[in-house]
Subunit: 548 residues, 2 copies
């Protein structure tokens, strides 16, 4: 017997390794909800709302490579859109499944709930197109083919895709021919050889070369390949902010975080002093380049991206990153690494009774990190501080550097923890961001996960106080929550919850959090303007502009 | 001196009565945030996240007629999109202001935060178009003209509009000519006379006629006009679900809520027994017509809508509802109303020690209502119960019957309370919906509002348990929150918070809630399947379909 549309969809998801589906159910999506719920090899993971579910799916994909999200028509999918767009910008293949009204309802242009009342049933699918790699409205006739097209796009382009399923089509048998997946993109052999030659030549001619290890290495599953190349060639490497832990910071060639002219002058001197810079999958965005203060002559730059290579001013299209890295490992000469690993943030500075200041906090956070930790760092002053901590072997630092949607980190930490429940998940968030999506910490308890959450309470949106004209502007104020009461209210009555305002208190609660055996929620209270060094410098440079 | 773009925008908002702006600040929107914050006649109302802010703006517009929302580029505006779409479908003029990156950044196609990284800076404005009546990206040259076009569209079409302002354009002086607002739509005099004649003729020829008083009466500010018409003509009127309290339920002609064949058979018999039905601004949507079981012969129906009239099978375009109602009041004969007001839900049924059942709960809720109350009723079983309660004079019942985005009611109640802080605001929500947006109850405390919140806890999405195949499906389960702890965690340590599981407990906590003088939060615990009659009947009819 032929499979139904929804059965075939589930089969194909499982075949590409997607068995966990984040979402919120809804009546137009019951067929999808039931298909997941009734399949012993799949798991429905409910979230409080669709945006949180999208962020959770994003966090999960960062750890496991790909993920799925399921929402209902209109109200559900539009609520998730900001999260899906974030996964698009940051290269995470989230497969978004949407339940639609039946085709008979659509044909009659009936005014049913969740519609605009205009009879246009495809408006939301159209609205979604700019933020997905492919999209389709499935029918029995097109499903076999469209599902392959969408899944292939998700995998090959490492971006979200969108598939909507009218409710009356879910249980219809596939009428279209079962097709094989479109072929994955392949390198053009001639171009590949030429690109590798050109790269090897530029590196060979250079007195000094450095690698920028970019986030795409991790996203494309190429950590082992890139590590092999760097280990063999002894090339030193830096990372930029978005790329942190794309490769282990304990590898011999690591020189530190490169942030243009704003931070780490020794790393900048090294990188900008080299006469060849090999960028492997890093993005030249504002917050990834110290607000565009990273200055590297394009003529001295090589960029190996997902499907193309640039060597100086020449571009080589249709070459895949994996093939380029593997090819380079064969032709570049073997050398030992000769650089010194960065020292990290050093000792926390301050007396035990002092209020907690950035000079104490971030070095203390660094000491707290363990091998293999999942570190979810929210956009804002907290990630700008933590980004400069040295990460242990196997620890991964996640931040939404390009999309920068505050609120992301809390559900993303939940998603990441679901993807790797045996690893330790640490969430570092400012309280303004946390307020956006805080309710989904309740899911940690529901799914028996034990994260350690640090919520930095500095009485408002600090990064905005630093960047706007008047730090006292009322729009940067927040409702005064009692943060340590949140876990119990959200159902985790056994969590360790505590508040620290001095360094001594911080020491005590961090020690307890590490050993309590339950989830832990730590509110770190700091002065309203106590910012990490990078945040402070960004603020100062903006204020200089304002005063001109 | 000529005004700047942002100054002119604020001036025009104030001139049309919009002085409160809901939102979340962001660096690309600082110019807008500052303009509101620095203007003594305007007020910034912060929310935890943009979707909640959009819902709050929606609730505010329901009470005050129009409202404003301000978000930042990309992450902010997309997060708000589901809420804005809801205001679109339900005819609420929410003016959405968005801060954009500077035009110099746009021209250079720089990869800055909150962009897709593709250099397309207008993608979000394009994505928004299907859910707004008008949109514009403002420049010094076009601002004067585009602001008028957008504001006029918001007012005339009673729908949201979208205006994006690049950050470097905000403080530039207006370069375009100051134009007057486009003229509001006017009735065509000949068509108007013909439409009124046709309506009067059909009503005059009818043995019996009834009015369906629709939500557009309230949205378009025509309550007094419609009330005048009904009082003069003595025509009996019913409302449908979305239209509840479009006119006072204590007016002499009110016969009750018409819900097709599902509920209130005596109202259905009356409405469907009349040989002329005058629909004033009601929508023929699924949940407004008892799932399309409302059956009225189009030949016997008159529909007076916002800009058009249908009389039987003839449509009269370009006639405004106000003009039609005022015209009808002059030509229809004066008669006294002769119907009996509906009795309401009667006495609560059950013993004091019984668990709370729908037969007790909804009659008890009805007795709790006072004149002038704002009743915010969340989509789900709770509004399906409360919708049949008789509302006191001046009380308004709000529900999102067409859009039906669960989570809406909690922030919408906050917005409504901000619009009318002297009225009593009651929020009735199921706990599944409440989890979506619960964090913004913190805003009630921050702005010194004292709502009474009823959170119905029946351990899952009950309406979905009723409508899906297997009520036990895991996707309808929720994280087990301790709801009564939420207000304190969100900052309201002085609120009265209590939980009721029996009728006696319910009596005690409702009495206390009414007199406590602070905000009150009541968790009503009910059996997992204890549904209001309408919800139960909808569920039964769906289950009959499944079993066929």
């Amino acid at each position: 017997m032929t499979a139904t549309v929804v059965e075939h969809l589930m089969t194909r998801l499982k075949q590409i390794g997607v068995t966990d589906v984040f979402g919120v159910p809804g009546d137009f999506s019951f067929a999808l909800n039931d298909a997941v719920d009734n399949d012993p090899d799949m798991r429905w993971i409910g979230c409080c709302n669709e945006l949180n579910a999208a962020y959770a799916a994003d966090g999960y994909a960062r750890v496991k490579g790909r993920s799925a999200l399921c929402t209902t028509y209109g109200v559900g999918e539009l609520s998730a859109l900001c999260g899906v767009a974030g996964s698009y910008t940051e290269h995470l293949p989230v497969i978004h499944l949407v339940g639609m009204p039946s085709v008979s309802t659509q044909k009659a242009r009936r005014i049913v709930h969740h519609t605009l009342g205009t009879g246009n049933f495809e408006a939301y699918a159209d609205m979604t197109k700019p933020v997905v790699a492919a999209s389709a409205i499935l029918t029995p006739e097109n499903a076999a083919c469209q599902i392959e097209r969408c899944l292939e796009a998700a995998v090959a382009r490492n971006r979200p895709v969108y598939m909507a399923l009218p409710q009356d089509y879910a249980d219809k048998e596939l009428a279209g021919e079962l097709v094989c997946a479109p072929e994955a993109p392949q390198s053009d052999p001639g171009t590949l050889a030429a690109a590798i030659d050109a790269i090897a030549e530029m590196i060979g001619a250079a007195q000094s070369a450095v690698v920028l290890a970019g986030y795409l290495i991790a996203r494309l599953g190429l950590r082992q390949v890139a590590k092999g190349l760097l280990t063999r060639t002894g090339l030193p490497f830096a990372t930029m902010f978005m790329d942190k832990t794309a490769l282990d910071e304990t590898l011999p060639g690591y020189i530190g975080l490169y942030d243009g002219r704003i931070m780490n002058p020794e790393v900048r001197d090294f990188v900008e002093g080299c006469d060849c810079v090999l960028n492997i999958g890093a993005l030249w965005s504002d917050f990834n380049t110290g607000a565009f203060t990273a200055k590297i002559d394009p003529a001295r730059m090589i960029a190996v991206m997902q499907h193309e290579v640039r060597v100086g001013h020449a571009t080589f299209l249709d070459v895949e990153m994996r093939d380029v890295l593997e090819g380079l490992a064969k032709v570049l000469p073997a050398k030992p690494a000769k650089v010194k690993n960065p020292a990290g943030l050093g000792e926390p500075k301050g007396a035990p009774s002092d209020p907690i200041c950035p000079d104490y906090l971030y070095p203390r956070f660094e000491k707290f990190l363990r091998e293999g930790d999942i570190v979810m760092a929210e956009t804002g002053t907290i990630s700008m501080g933590l980004g400069f901590a040295k990460m242990p072997t196997g620890a991964e630092f996640f931040n939404q550097t390009l999309w920068g949607s505050i609120g992301w980190a809390t559900p993303a930490a939940f998603g990441a923890a679901m993807a790797a429940p045996k690893r330790r998940t640490l969430l570092f968030t400012g309280e303004g961001s946390h307020q956006m999506t805080a309710q989904d910490i309740g899911q940690f308890g529901r799914y028996d996960l034990k994260p350690i959450i640090f919520c930095l309470n500095n009485d408002g949106y600090l990064i905005e106080r630093l960047l706007c004209k008047d730090p006292k502007s009322s729009y940067n104020d927040l409702a005064p929550w009692n943060y340590t009461q949140l876990p119990a209210a959200f159902g985790m009555t056994d969590w360790y919850c505590a508040k620290a305002s001095t360094n001594a208190e911080l020491e005590a609660v961090m020690a307890k959090a590490e050993t309590c055996g339950t989830g832990a929620y730590i509110e770190v209270v700091m002065d309203q303007m106590a910012a990490s060094p990078l945040a402070k410098k960004l603020g100062e440079s903006i204020q200089t502009l304002y005063s001109k």
